[in-house]
Symmetry: C2
Subunit: 604 residues, 2 copies
């Protein structure tokens, strides 16, 4: 493909070459407004998420400029803003806590490489087979886990966070050390953040029935309210920082502060393939061993989150998941040369971007420029950012990720999915989000196995018409191992309608749902399998068919009607002289003659 | 149920109460012959398998009398002989090597308890969802792993066995220490065993065209040949033991011998809930922690093996898997009070039993009596059994478990199953049978996911007849998350027949297989979903339907025909005003009027 149509491939890899042609001033204005608005959310968030990942705040800022630049070139979804995200920061903490920043950067690099492999090979699309209830349960549990890990920041405590359960257990061990001033500040910050969010979402000046001047003023007021709401993170952090600065006296301070942030842009160098902690030196292999399952789990969740965001904003347009995965990979790899932590699309910032009227992925360029500006000139002032303010930013951002509405919907329209949702949710809370996600996928697989264990057979008893009385079944699609036992038990039940030796519950259920009239005992029984829409069977199913046919051959016949050649071959592989026919043969006295022919092949 | 019909429950639990009524002298003779024949196989095998499990030989004998007694009371399958089995002995070694015999006995007890729980709760039936290729790949790999672990016994070497790969690696480390006499004995034993097996299977005096006397003589010769073949293990071990005894001089011996076996019956006492190794004391909890995943894997494989044997000999009769699992559990629990290692049905002994003309599970009583006799009177002579002879018994027994024929069958009739088979086989060899089995189940799940990701939709374009031109689909059964993306991409392709932005390979494939004529552009498009045989959708699928309908609503309509109430409810949960109709409505000008009505509900 690369050799065949290089131009098309390059255009596919860099959508900017396409949308750039139609980039107007209007688009640019939309993008600038969105880019600046995003930056106001991103800058405080990035530092907070770095803290969540157990890294110094500057790593969050390092992650916030190269990734948006790269995404502007390669991304397909205007709304996506690449940068630190709550979920991936939590996972970074899970896999790297107790180590140093090099591990976090290296994880980002490796995740990027994995994304690229997944994107090129197409393996990445497998994440689309994770069902919505699993994703929802996982996201809600992750939000609660993140919020729980931030309680220490809110109250000025110090303990090791972990899973939801572990965080709260550790919390109750040190709760008596709660710092008053930090708690007061947190309450203030959270209240302000939630109020501003409510204002943005619910309070609007009514613009109907006003004259032109009133109308214009109302529109301006509405825009102002919206902007205040959107920039609430920046506002709250700024106010808290100024407050902390004002009450700061002789190195004594009532709040826990962020402390010194390395000023300036990061040094450009390859990601660390070697690092030292104390006197121990870790090679790249050692680091990979330490990261362990994170090398698979982190990229998988990154892809899952990004594809989900792109889909949410696609509005019915075709999603190019492969290109998105590649873009995510390149963002992470290039960013890791700038000492960045893991980057990913963020759902909350994408929503802000969308509401700000973003037009193209180019808005990332303006966001990135603002972050560079911040790193160059503002870092000295970040010393005074209270940790409680950053924790408040995280808590208020993630709590909206908890989706309890879906419970009501599932109860109404699809209750079995509640098993998956709640199973995923609680295993995430108890065992950690990464293990919980795997549990969720297993629950999905088990449910699928269950559904597949009840294949559609459409058993009927036909005793009218010109044909002798016979049973018919009409299997559809593919028949696989999961359904083999079910099919056999149902069809054997037709032969032995009364099961004397203590039938199990399952058989009773099968018999009652089958709703088949009792066949005449002692007469020859026919089973016509209509194979018109049967496409394949697997070996396990064929084995059960073999046993079934042996069973039926004692008192009856199994006849295969309209089987395709592939199905005929499969059946010939396990049966001696299977009886094939077409619908036309059935119309003649085929069934009766088969009886006298024994098991000879009657293929027409 | 226990309260409702106690008599029926007891009859179900103890099938002996049923078959005892019709137990004739003829049945008894069949059972005695089978019981004695089995004992001749079982006694040498049980000691060999105990060695395979890393236990002293007497534990194999301890496992060989209580279990057949119990199975005679509770079993449903005459052919099954309970006792040590190669597979479970290998697993016992995997989970308990480096400990003492108490761990092996405790594992048997816990496995029995797990069997009982699995049997009563019905969870045990889940093993029936393991496909034939997985079982086959697992069994073949286990046989090779066991045979590899016995090479040290054959050659008189000493190294730590483990997975197939590890055994051979360790073997090549000590191969230069091979003992000549042990090797010679092994070659002799193996040659004899394989020759006798071949005689039993292939050499027969032709009995046709003979007079009565000749005929009788021929029958007697045939029976004698068969008996020599069946008792080959006992013969070979006896001859080897006598040889070892004769060449034994002044404690010097050319062969490695079994050594002292504790004589007499085992002490009857509860299974060990505490044990000491060196100075360390292990509580029951410590022992369970050490056994780890074995507490699940061992009983699961036990159930799997037993159910497979019962099915193989059921000959079309209904299999009472639940009762078999319960019987297996009781056998293990009671046996563990007699210091027994894990017991299970053995495929090879069941085949012998079948060929010996067994009539009822009662034959186990005769086998058990012979084992008791052996323990009481023969153990002193077992000192001289050469280890090479026991290793030869194992190797020749397990090599016939390797099933290479299935590869040819799968190649002919179901190639995708080869992925599962070979995947399971090689992961068992490399990572150990217990991990490999789990890999196999995962491969099964992934294949099932793949099949489910291509649900049967039956997309058609109808432009003849009285109705306006429309697409119709006819989904069947249940629609689940795995197929959601496929359905959406196929149906979205109908709206946008030409995909300009670099379609992925998968889409191209989908388009080419769909075989749908190009629709007229710019006209309103109708999609009629025939729901007659649609039973349920899960939430993920409904979400994709929601997006799909929004997509279609721009240029067309989606109409739900003949939906059941449950389906209607599900659709109403995600769609605003879905359009329902019946076949009759379709016959009228329903489709056209819907267009003018917009998205209002037109339910009749």
């Amino acid at each position: 493909m690369l050799i065949m149509r290089p131009k098309k491939v390059i255009l596919g890899l860099f959508p900017i070459l396409e949308w750039w042609k139609t980039y107007t001033l209007e688009s640019a204005i939309g993008d600038v407004i969105a880019g600046v608005t995003i930056a106001l959310t991103l800058i405080p968030q990035s530092m907070a998420y770095a803290a969540l990942a157990g890294l110094a705040p500057q790593y969050g800022l390092y992650a916030s400029f190269m990734a948006p630049f790269v995404y502007a070139l390669m991304g397909t979804c205007p709304q996506i803003n690449m940068g630190p995200s709550a979920l991936l920061s939590l996972l970074t903490y899970t896999y790297t806590h107790g180590t140093n920043a090099d591990f976090g950067i290296f994880l980002g690099f490796l995740a990027g490489i994995t994304h690229l492999i997944a994107g090129v090979s197409g393996i990445g699309s497998l994440v689309e087979y994770i069902s919505v209830p699993v994703v929802s349960g996982f996201t809600s549990a992750a939000a609660l886990t993140i919020a729980s890990s931030q309680v220490k920041g809110l109250l000025g405590l110090s303990y090791v966070a972990g899973t939801f359960v572990k965080s709260w257990r550790n919390f109750f061990g040190v709760v008596h050390k709660t710092r008053l001033m930090d708690s007061v500040l947190s309450i203030g910050c959270c209240t302000t953040l939630l109020t501003l969010k409510t204002i943005k979402e619910h309070i609007k000046v009514n613009t109907e029935g006003l004259n032109e001047r009133q109308h214009r003023r109302a529109v301006i007021i509405n825009r102002f309210l919206w902007f205040v709401g959107v920039s609430r993170n920046a506002t709250v952090v700024t106010v808290a920082t100024v407050t902390a600065f004002c009450v700061y006296k002789d190195i004594k301070t009532p709040f826990l502060l962020t402390g010194v942030i390395t000023p300036g842009l990061p040094a450009v160098r390859p990601p660390p393939f070697q690092t030292s902690i104390g006197n121990t030196t870790y090679s790249a292999i050692d680091m990979m061993k330490h990261l362990g399952s994170g090398l698979i789990v982190v990229p998988a969740i990154g892809i899952l989150a990004n594809v989900a965001i792109v889909k949410a904003f696609a509005k019915g347009k075709k999603v190019n998941a492969k290109q998105e995965i590649l873009a995510l990979g390149v963002c992470n790899v290039i960013s890791s040369f700038f000492q960045s932590m893991l980057v990913n699309g963020s759902f909350s910032r994408s929503a802000v971007s969308n509401a700000s009227g973003v037009r193209t992925p180019g808005s990332g360029i303006y966001t990135g420029i603002l972050v560079v500006f911040t790193l160059l000139f503002l870092t000295p002032y970040f010393y005074f950012i209270p940790r409680a303010a950053l924790a408040s930013v995280i808590v208020c951002a993630v709590l909206q990720m908890v989706d309890y509405e879906i419970l009501r919907t599932l109860w109404k329209i699809s209750r079995p999915d509640m098993i998956t949702l709640l199973g995923t949710f609680f295993s995430c809370l108890v065992m950690g989000v990464e293990v919980g996600l795997i549990c969720g996928v297993c629950i999905d697989a088990i449910l699928l196995l269950y559904y597949n264990s009840r294949p559609y057979l459409d058993i009927k008893y036909n005793d009218t018409g010109s044909l002798p009385a016979h049973y018919s079944i009409h299997p559809i699609g593919g028949l696989h191992f999961a359904g083999a036992e079910y099919m056999r038990s149902k069809l054997t039940a037709l032969l032995h309608p009364k099961v004397d030796d203590s039938p199990s519950h399952r058989d009773q259920e099968a018999a009652s749902t089958a709703n088949i009239p009792a066949p005449t005992p002692k007469s020859t029984k026919f089973l016509v399998v209509h194979c018109d829409e049967l496409y394949r069977m697997d070996y396990t199913f064929l084995q059960d068919i073999q046993m079934l046919v042996i069973d039926w051959s004692r008192t009856g016949r199994v006849i295969w009607c309209n089987a395709k050649d592939s199905i005929k071959n499969q059946l010939k592989g396990v049966l001696t002289n299977p009886v094939f026919c077409t619908t036309k043969d059935l119309g003649s006295n085929m069934i009766v003659t088969t009886e006298s022919q024994g098991s000879s092949e009657a293929e027409v």
